[in-house]
């Protein structure tokens, strides 16, 4: 079927169509972007029946056969993640219709480029191809961080740029070592050749690539760019960062550790230790923040720690809880950062102590924030409960110490989310301030995300089935068998 690389091709075409459309008029930029995103979403959803019935769909670019050419692999993990990510970018673009008032061409093209990079990393089967798409994703997000040329945006952008470039250069060094020892760049071929050798150079290469991916996903000793970059970028861009680009790093770690290289116990212990430190460190630091977006950024670090701990257990329940938490976290954090954008649109400031009385109460923002906060903590009836329950069960089966750490982090999550809710909505509240009217395009994404949170929470069997399917697609033998036909 020709549907293979069409989502990426459609997004790339949209990226280059937007400046052409803007030469004529600025009115139709948003329509072009939305048309491209919808088309891409429909193409990704139509891949689902094919992938579910055949297990794995593999395309070779330009017809070159497997170890010599670039393969594009669609399995349930990549297809469901692609659908979720395109959906979040779609809602963020709808939100930013009235939020971004100038330089629209640059903004929408860069957002489409971020999506091109993500879809490329998720769907590829060749390690250097993954590096190239990762660079496309990173360079567009450096430019998006510095979008408003304020003092803090420029400072955050230069820090993100230097740390991010270091990360991708480390990945390139690891790829150079792998090519030198094994002589191939195809992920399935590497998986075949790595099983026999015990070369310390491969250990170094794996350590360098995993360090680069940890930097990209914001786990603790490597997290320093994250709070600044999330605080200083425009709010819909931050919801794309937390929903899409941070999770790409965790996907790459999953793919490399479980499918390409053997999941030896040293690697899994590293994942668990780094994850445990991130869980606690992110939650502790979020308790003393004054800025709403910085608080949510530290919360993202903590949730990525949950995913790393759960993935590092290596069991079926652990992997499925971790992968489901990736999707749930992107929905919840997307919602929370869009709420923060809603607040900043009116109050013009981010500091929680100065907001009161500056924005008009609206049931949409109230419900959205409290439902997002409760779902992040893991209250039943919302989708955060499903993935957190799987994580608790999985960690209990391995060692109860990790369960205690996870529960303490959830309690800290409750502490700082309640503090945020109290300071923003309930403290010295003067209702009905005279502010400008909120456009419908800013309320609609919040409503849709709340609906999805409640639906996924009330019917949890659906998400557990999907996450079990996604975990089975990490199986090494089936991957090699499908790609190297």
């Amino acid at each position: 079927m020709i549907f293979g690389f069409l989502p990426i091709a459609v997004m790339l075409a949209t990226t280059f169509l937007i400046p052409l459309v803007s030469l004529k008029t600025e009115k139709y930029i948003i329509h072009t972007t939305l048309a491209g995103l919808f088309l891409s979403l429909l193409l990704s959803i139509s891949m689902i029946p094919d992938v579910l019935s055949k297990g794995r769909v593999v395309y070779q670019m330009e017809g070159w056969k497997a170890p010599f050419g670039i393969s594009i692999v669609f399995d349930p993990l990549s297809v469901f993640l692609s659908v979720a990510f395109i959906f979040i970018v779609l809602l963020a673009v709808v939100f930013s219709h009235k939020y971004i008032k100038y330089k629209k061409t640059e903004y929408y093209s860069l957002v489409c480029l971020v999506l091109v990079g993500t879809l490329g990393v998720i769907n590829t089967g060749d390690i250097f191809n993954m590096f190239v798409y990762l660079e496309i994703l990173s360079v567009s997000s450096y430019a998006l961080t510095a979008f408003f040329k304020k003092k803090e945006s420029l400072e955050a952008a230069i820090k993100y740029l230097i740390i991010g470039s270091l990360a991708t250069s480390l990945v390139l060094l690891g790829i150079a070592f792998i090519y030198g020892v094994l002589g191939t760049l195809n992920m399935a071929d590497i998986a075949v050749k790595v099983s026999g050798t015990a070369n310390p150079v491969i250990g170094t290469a794996l350590a360098l690539i995993i360090t680069g991916m940890f930097i990209k996903s914001g786990l603790v000793p490597f997290h320093a760019w994250l709070p600044d970059a999330y605080q200083a970028s425009p709010s819909p861009v931050t919801s794309i960062f937390s929903g899409v680009t941070t999770n790409v790093g965790m996907y790459a770690v999953l793919r490399l550790v479980f499918t390409v290289f053997n999941p030896v116990s040293v690697l899994l212990w590293m994942l668990m230790i780094v994850g445990a430190i991130s869980m606690l460190g992110g939650a502790l630091l979020a308790l003393v923040q004054n800025s709403l977006k910085r608080l949510l950024a530290y919360s993202s670090i903590s949730q990525m720690g949950f995913v790393a701990v759960s993935v590092g257990l290596g069991t079926q329940t652990g992997l499925s809880g971790g992968v489901l938490h990736i999707i749930n976290h992107s929905i919840i954090k997307g919602l929370l950062f869009l709420c923060a954008g809603f607040i900043v649109y009116q109050a013009k400031t981010d500091n929680m102590h100065e907001i009161s009385g500056k924005f008009k109460f609206n049931p949409v923002i109230g419900y959205s924030f409290i439902i997002g906060a409760l779902s992040l903590v893991g209250v039943p009836l919302f989708n955060g409960f499903v993935s957190k329950w799987l994580i608790y069960v999985a960690t209990f089966q391995v060692s109860p110490v990790l369960t205690v750490l996870a529960l303490v982090s959830s309690a800290l999550t409750l502490a700082y989310m309640l503090r945020a809710f109290y300071l923003v909505f309930l403290c010295n509240a003067k209702p009905g301030a005279k502010q400008k009217k909120i456009p419908l395009s800013m309320q609609l994404p919040l409503i849709v995300l709340v609906g999805i949170i409640i639906l996924l929470g009330v019917f949890p069997g659906f998400s557990i089935d999907i996450s079990n399917l996604m975990v089975q697609s990490l199986n090494k033998q089936q991957y090699i068998g499908a790609v190297l036909t």
């Binding site: 250097f128 190239v132 660079e135 360079v139 450096y142 430019a143 510095a146 040329k149 003092k151 803090e152 420029l154 400072e155 955050a156 952008a157 230069i158 740029l161 230097i162 470039s165 270091l166 250069s169 390139l172 060094l173 790829i175 150079a176 090519y179 030198g180 760049l185 709070p227 600044d228 605080q231 200083a232 630091l285 003393v288 923040q289």
Partner: protein, 115 residues
Amino acid sequence: MIPYIAAMALVIIGFYALLLKDNILKKITGLALFSNGIHLFLLSLGYRAGGVPPIMQDLNFTRLASLAVDPLPQALVLTSIVINLSVTALAVSIIIPLYRKFKTLSVRKIPEMRG
């Protein structure tokens, strides 16, 4: 042997400059040195003593394949050089308004976002 030593020396010097220098422009120069060291390392992986450039003069594939150096690292390095060029250009274009607003390029004096 010598290209590998030179490449690792470039990597180490670039990494030192990236970590320990105070001026942001020097850090970006260090990043460029770091990535150029990696490119030299990649290129010298494909070297074959006494090889010819991988350009076909006549249609004899097997003879070319036994004589030419490996063309795959050359493709990887070309891609990576272009990517690093765009990252360096983006970095310098972020530093220009940064200097106008902060009046300094020192990493110790810029930070306003702490904690």
